[in-house]
Symmetry: C2
Subunit: 250 residues, 2 copies
DNA sequence: TAATCAGATATTGTATACAAAACTTACGTG
DNA sequence: CACGTAAGTTTTGTATACAATATCTGATTA
């Protein structure tokens, strides 16, 4: 919209800023580094946007001053992360994980993350421990400031940080995906308020990792995840009743 | 960048409520059903295109008679699957997994798939067993016809089918991703020719699943994956890619 | 000969245009 | 009133246009 008529001769610092600094390593597809992707993602995972909210392309394009082309790319990437849901001809919505998905996410986490924690405990260096402690402080600060959603997001990043220490790109990718979805799940189904217990669990975990006790780390991770899961309220039926037409159809 | 200034996202409860119950069951984003995505994907996984090959947007658009817009969407999705690699301002290339990635993929598989096989063994119905046997036949036929790459792809689908029987959408997604990458890894690093052994392993696996022996299924799966891994040559030289070939068909 | 560089060509990145589908609203009909 | 129904509006899906970047070609020079 406001991006009209770029002439060939005038120096276009906007474009320069966008394209400069891209790493050659290309660990991730470019779209995952775009401000649109990152902005929407962190707003969702930090609980600034409620699950189910529509994400209109025009509006997002205006906010980030880009065209729908790049917004669509970001939304597609977020959809493949299961953070947003793309419905054909209807648009993008913040994803609403079902209770079944919630169970699956935590089951997968309870398989993957103990393994990852054990791997991290085996090879963690002092700098890694310091990083984890910094993560915990951030999270603690968010809790203290009453920024509940932000704290959930940061808690996820703590788990991802452990995976990064384990130095296994695939596990890290999986854990990142699962933690993202966990943020949404917490937004929908959390019932307890005792984040203190979580902080304590993280602390114990870091201690086990720092002392190179893989077994302990794995066990602490399992119980931590089980504990998280038990803080969810997955009792009743699907989040909201389906329309009659959906039930009766075919 | 902050959403807090844009109240529409948070105040528009009407939209949220209306759209909240709208579960369209669409398990996958539309891109993953597009002929472009599927065509390129199966060409790569069936070893019709060599790792490293460039995938020009124009050319693909001509082949599938669509514009670059939809080609780009497909390529982006494939990049997030690690099947193609997107290099900024240079384009898309068939991914070339490194040896490290190969090790990581098979390590992840040896964690996930035994679990999945055990789950499948617990709940498999006769129809599921029949499906697995059909998969094996297809694979066997491909081997007999000398279609080696196709056989690798089908072998991956067999593993995905087990995950589908286990009825866990996240594990299925993970296994699908890992098997895709395994196809590429085999294309680059395979050294043995004894696919018979693989057929035998699959047969044993199906038997254990059919007889509802989770423990056996898990153990058979582990050794099968270890066996696959040992068929790779991950010793020294970097993988090589060939030049462009237009084996892609509509 | 090998290396370098300028211009020409080709390809990607992004914006915009337009068609198709969904949503809204207002209106009639039972 | 409830319920469909048909304009008009909005939003998405795809194609195309153009700018930015990369790649190729060929001439020039050490």
């Amino acid at each position: 919209m406001q991006y009209s008529n770029h002439t060939r001769f005038q120096t276009d610092n906007t474009t320069m800023l966008k394209t400069s600094g891209k790493s050659r390593t290309a660990g991730q597809p470019p779209v995952q580094q775009s401000p649109v992707y990152l902005g929407i993602r962190s707003a969702i995972l930090g609980h600034s946007i409620t699950p189910g909210t529509k994400l209109p392309e025009d509006e997002l394009g205006d906010i980030y001053s880009v065209s729908r082309t790049v917004v669509r790319a970001a939304l597609q990437a977020l959809a493949l992360d299961h953070i947003v849901s793309l419905e054909p001809n209807r648009g993008a919505f913040v994803a609403k994980p079902t209770r079944l998905e919630a169970r699956e996410v935590f089951e997968a986490r309870s398989l993957l993350e103990p393994k990852v924690a054990a791997m991290a405990a085996e090879i963690a260096k002092p700098a890694d421990i310091a990083l984890l402690e910094r993560h915990m402080e951030e999270e603690h600060a968010a809790v203290a400031a009453g920024k509940d959603g932000e704290a959930v997001h940061l808690s996820g990043q703590f788990h991802v940080a452990i995976a990064e220490i384990a130095n296994h790109s695939i596990y890290t990718d999986f854990v990142r995906r699962l933690c993202s979805r966990s943020s949404l799940i917490v937004a929908l189904y959390w019932r307890r308020r005792d984040t203190i217990c979580e902080h304590h669990a993280h602390h114990e975990l870091v201690k086990a990792i720092a002392q190179h006790k893989p077994k302990d780390a794995a066990e602490l991770m399992v119980s931590h995840i089980v504990d998280l899961f038990s803080g969810l309220d997955l009792s009743e039926r699907e989040p909201v009743g389906k329309k009659l037409s959906d039930i009766l159809k075919v």
